[in-house]
Symmetry: C2
Subunit: 194 residues, 2 copies
């Protein structure tokens, strides 16, 4: 029995901040870890932007309620949960992700927390530094081989820490920079590889 | 967000070896960690017994397919998964537990493996020593507070390692020996306490 560590956004569900960008019409919020590799820089930009545009948590919540997992993600996850112990390792926040977790049947999710005051996001609390890689190493310390699947800059440490790694729908510039990690574009390909 | 670590047998599902004892009519297989505190002693007795009675893996598999989670376990787990990240920590084996996991919607399960040859269980592989307590500490190392629920001797280390602990339907002699750990008898009580 192996542990399968899956990134969330870009692998199972759309980028949540893209959804917020579309719903609010704020272009800046389309930036992701694919564009800005340092997570703290990206989050500062996001929080400054939503503060400037006075976007409430309620608006964001309604937007996220309207998001759905990618077509095929549910079937892929059902397949994976019969063969692996599945953990979703994400740099998103429980406040954002839980409605999507409900749609995916509540797999284990290890991510971060937001600080919300008076319906405004005023900050965030990273669970720990390099949380994804630390989670991989924690499962390894429990005697598990870990297979990891990600798509972006913030997944590289996780992919490098894992016993086996795959890119899923990674942008060329990220996948090309790590040419030793195999890349897949469809859930069918991924299932064959796993 | 906290991690809720739940024992499996006695908390969510019946004792699997009890089911095997009933199906095969072998009384000795009714012994559990509640009767024999040292897990290795218990497992040696079980494996010797099924070898002596020539019980096949196929017989055991059919028996387990017929087991169901406790009434209310599914609703309790659905409640828990909306409020916690849930991990099942068990000293059972994936070969036994996966049909029951399917009935519970595949929560994360950390347990052990059997060694099966020619349809006979010839051994078992503990993932690590004190696997339940090690799993609690692994989640704590990732920045989570851990709440643990168990019922038996092999849960004590897990309950002691956790930030908060409850007994669920524990025998008096175990609960009384650890009187500082609150005990509950129904899922409703447990939900109120959690």
């Amino acid at each position: 029995m192996k542990v399968l560590c899956l990134d969330l956004e870009g692998v199972l569900v759309p980028e949540i901040w893209h959804g917020i960008a579309r719903a609010t019409g704020i272009e800046t919020l389309k930036k992701t870890t694919r564009d800005i590799p340092v997570y703290e820089d990206l989050m500062r930009l996001r929080l400054d932007t939503i503060e400037r545009h006075a976007v409430t948590m309620e608006t964001i919540r309604r937007t996220i309620d309207g998001l759905d997992p990618f077509p095929g993600a549910d079937a892929f996850l059902a397949w994976a949960r019969r063969r692996f112990q599945v953990a979703i390792l994400s740099d998103t926040f429980y406040e954002f992700a839980m409605p999507l977790m409900a749609k995916l049947g509540f797999p284990l999710l290890l991510c971060h927390r937001l600080v919300v005051e008076d319906d405004r996001i005023v900050g965030y609390r990273l669970r720990q530094e390099q949380a994804k890689a630390a989670s991989v190493r924690a499962f390894q310390s429990l005697g598990y081989e870990v297979v990891a699947v990600g798509d972006s800059y913030n997944d590289i440490d996780m992919l490098r820490a894992a016993d086996r790694a795959c890119f899923f729908r990674a942008p060329d510039r990220i996948a090309d920079a790590h040419g030793d990690i195999p890349r897949f574009e469809t859930y069918d390909e991924l299932m064959c590889a796993l």
